[in-house]
């Protein structure tokens, strides 16, 4: 998924770097300690959730939040590190039984599952929830159900077209999916938000965006769009059916639309209910202030699990020349780009397309330079070969956001010695992805990011580099790379039945694509977050852009 819309992803170094120093011995203190039952966790947030409807929302922030109120057939683990991204059963009793060579998948629901209304969750409700993904107005979130499950071409969701015949529910506990072609990792796909059960007939239009129907441990008690959100316990949820969610606190209280600097100040001060608060990544200017031992103990850090990159439009001159793209890859000074987002505490230099959290990823650097500071000599040599000794001009699209502009300026500066004149085109944040996702409107290059939907190359390389995925609107193949060898390799890997072998093959495909240099991998951004002094059970979750895993977080002292 797009990193900007989100920041979803993964994380690797597990929780608390600060805690490692002194926190381990005094287990009760610090964000890593065990959480007590009860209390309300406060969440201070910059932006509101995109959607509460599980079929509409699709980014690291809402995916993490959805686990509090919704359940899916399978789900990711709830632990730091790779344990967290391991898929396990949730509503279903296992991660699915394939048949017909992986083309048909059967899941069985557990006993004792209820909606917040008290109605039992049946396989028909799961099917109804999934079929909403085909509705052209509602199904704007995770695309995998639509891409993989076989459906009549004219099917437009349950409200318009009625029942979806290709998903079978032989009884109230069994659901059978028929896929377009075999897919070995379908057990991970049903962890996507599109597989949230919705009571049959409910949720038309924007109904669920204002009043979600909970299947998870919490339900929405009060929601003021863009201002606040309050969750209370859903007493119909039975902990015995749910091995993943600890759900210690009695409730959650979100406050949206706070300025980033305000959040940082409040978290540092830690007054009043802010001791029970968690928040997102701190601002670059705050990094220097959280270095005191007291504050450091309250920080969590880890990789966000996304790759921030600059896409080079391979259809535009002179970027259609692979040597020119390679030269840019050599010349970009990733150190200055990293400083632009806040230095080494907030990002690592990227070398390959896939971030370190993706399984099967190979650590390699196809365009090395000393300390990532750019190799102008190597770049100049390639440009001379391409006959561009006198440089050229290209337009770089970037978002109207200080951090993104600072990155663009760093790239502009790094390419100056090559006489490459980078024109920075600032696009309003709200329309940015629409513009760069429209091939007729995008310019020569754009800075953006991508996060895996689950830690596999399958959700990273094909969406970004399959030449047959270039569409007139909502295009994610920014480079417009349409290379027959790459396309063939993608098809070949999709046939591999063993998930591990497929992931390893994606690691090799990463190298094959980078040889064509359609993008410049810039950074693997990190999460550095400060939590309240009364927060416990907090760790960054690899699967949710390095956000604090909400189903495990709680308070040290619930009575405070």
């Amino acid at each position: 998924m797009l990193a900007g819309l989100v920041l979803s992803g993964t994380l690797v170094l597990s929780a608390c770097s600060g805690n490692a120093a002194g926190g381990e011995s005094q287990t009760s203190a610090g964000p890593g300690g065990p959480a007590a039952q009860g209390g309300t966790v406060q969440v201070l947030a910059n932006a509101a959730f995109s959607h509460l409807d599980p079929v509409r929302g699709f980014d690291g922030g809402v995916n993490n939040f959805y686990r509090l109120i919704y359940r899916t057939l399978t789900t990711q683990g709830a632990a730091p590190g790779t344990e967290g991204t391991k898929i396990g059963p949730d509503l279903a009793t296992d991660t699915g039984t394939p048949s017909d060579g992986g083309k048909t998948w059967t899941f069985t629901l557990k006993d004792g599952l209820f909606f917040e209304t008290g109605a039992p969750i049946t396989s028909a409700d799961v099917k109804f929830g999934v079929s909403r993904a085909w509705d052209p107005e509602i199904g704007i979130g995770s695309p995998y159900a639509k891409q993989l499950i076989d459906a009549p071409a004219s099917y437009q969701g349950p409200y318009k077209s009625g029942d979806l015949p290709t998903i079978a529910t032989p009884d109230a506990k069994t659901i059978v999916f028929h896929l377009k072609k075999p897919f070995a990792d379908f057990g991970s796909v049903v962890a996507q938000n599109t597989f949230v059960p919705v009571p049959k007939g409910a949720g038309a239009g924007t109904e669920l965006d204002s009043k979600p129907i909970a299947s998870g441990p919490y339900k929405v008690s009060e929601y003021k769009a863009g201002a606040s959100l309050k969750l209370v316990r859903n007493d119909k949820w039975d902990a015995k059916t749910d091995p993943v969610r600890k759900a210690k606190p009695d409730g959650f209280q979100w406050t949206f639309d706070l300025d980033g600097a305000t959040i940082d100040e409040r978290m540092i001060a830690g007054q009043g209910t802010d001791v029970d608060a968690i928040a997102g990544t701190i601002q670059a200017a705050t990094v220097a202030r959280v270095q005191t031992p007291q504050l450091k103990q309250r920080t969590l850090t880890g990789l966000g699990g996304c790759t921030t990159y600059m896409g080079l439009n391979t259809t535009k001159k002179p970027l259609n020349d692979v040597r020119v793209r390679q030269a840019i890859n050599f010349a970009v000074n990733k150190q200055t780009v990293r400083d632009a987002v806040g230095g080494s505490t907030l990002a690592e230099l990227a070398t390959s397309i896939q971030p370190p959290t993706v399984l099967g990823r190979v650590d390699y650097d196809p365009y090395p330079s000393p300390e990532g500071k750019g190799d102008v000599a190597a770049a100049q040599k390639l440009l001379t070969e391409a006959g561009l000794t006198n440089g050229f001009t290209f337009t770089l699209d970037t978002r109207a956001q200080p951090k993104m502009q600072a990155m663009a300026v760093a790239i502009q500066q790094a390419l100056k010695p090559l006489k490459i004149d980078v024109k920075i085109n600032i696009i309003d944040t709200s329309t940015y992805y629409e513009v760069i996702g429209t091939p007729s409107q995008q310019h020569d290059a754009a800075i953006t990011g991508w996060c895996p939907d689950w830690p596999s190359g399958a959700t990273f390389l094909p969406p970004l580099f399959d030449g047959r995925n270039i569409v007139a609107k909502g295009n994610s193949n920014l480079a417009q790379l349409n290379d027959p060898a790459v396309n063939a390799k993608i098809d070949e890997i999709s046939q591999i039945k063993d998930v591990n072998a497929a992931n390893a093959a994606y690691g090799e495909l990463d190298k094959q694509i980078m040889a064509l240099a359609p993008v410049v991998p810039l950074l693997y951004e990190k999460v550095l977050t400060l939590v309240g002094s009364n927060i416990a059970g907090a760790y960054l979750h690899d699967g949710y852009s390095g956000g604090i895993d909400l189903v495990s977080v709680g308070l040290t002292d619930a009575g405070k």
Partner: protein, 323 residues
Amino acid sequence: MTVAGPRTPTLLEVEEVGLAGDPGGGPPTSTGRILGKLARDKAALLCLVFLLIVVLMAVFAPLITKLSGWGPDEFDSGAINSDLGGVPHGSLGGISGEHWFGVEPQNGRDLFARIVYGARVSITIALSATVLTGILGVVFGLLAGFYRGWVDQAISRVMDFLMAFPALIFMIAILSSLPAGNRPVLLVVVISAFGWPYLARVIRGQTMTLANREFVEAARASGAKNVALVFREILPNLRGSIIVMTTLSVPGYIGTEAGLSFLGVGVTPPTASWGQMISSSVSWYSVDPMFFAIPGTFLFLTVLSLTVLGDKIRSVIDAGEAT
């Protein structure tokens, strides 16, 4: 023919009378007299000196930065601490022999060079906007005041409309919806479009009074054409008002440019601008206060100097008119 004959000398005569009056009574707006008075005023002199420094800085920016050793867009990764979010090394925002005013956090660009180049942006935009509003204001003000009738009606209604408009909001809307293009030119055009009515109003009022004065009547009676009346009789007498109004508007335009840049719709990066520097320093106020203090001080002193100077000029001219 016989009628035309005596006409020409009369016109000359009128002009001669005007010219003859110059050395004697001394027009209240004589440049020499104003400068003389200002030079004797300490506050005005200080302002003038500071403005002179800023203007020289702007004009000789490339030479000055060659001397200081760092260009405005040059990154200096060595001057910042990447592990602490990019905060400058050393106290006071990294002020040292190398970087005279310290460096910008996160990229290590030299603040001195950016202040010097920022002065260019501020002054060019403010002066261009002043010239443009000056021309527009004087022309429309004269037209409205001299011709009256429907011309006055049309121009005055446009002025009312523009003055009643929430200008800042409209400027932000226009600038953020227009494609990037040539930002400085756009800024000048947008600022001028909303700035000219303030000058034009004053000019219109004064033109109306002047048009009824005896010397204009006399010129008209002796057969002077409208163009001659406007440019030879009325315009010279508006000189004082124009000087005062424009001097006082320059600081306003500098402030507007800085404000628009602060709000993110000013010049595009990497062009240095004081407003943009202040905007990006906001989040750094607690760890690197110098990043805010330096451009803030320059903006403050420039606007203050221009305002004080404009005030002094007005009092000198007012005093001249009174005598």
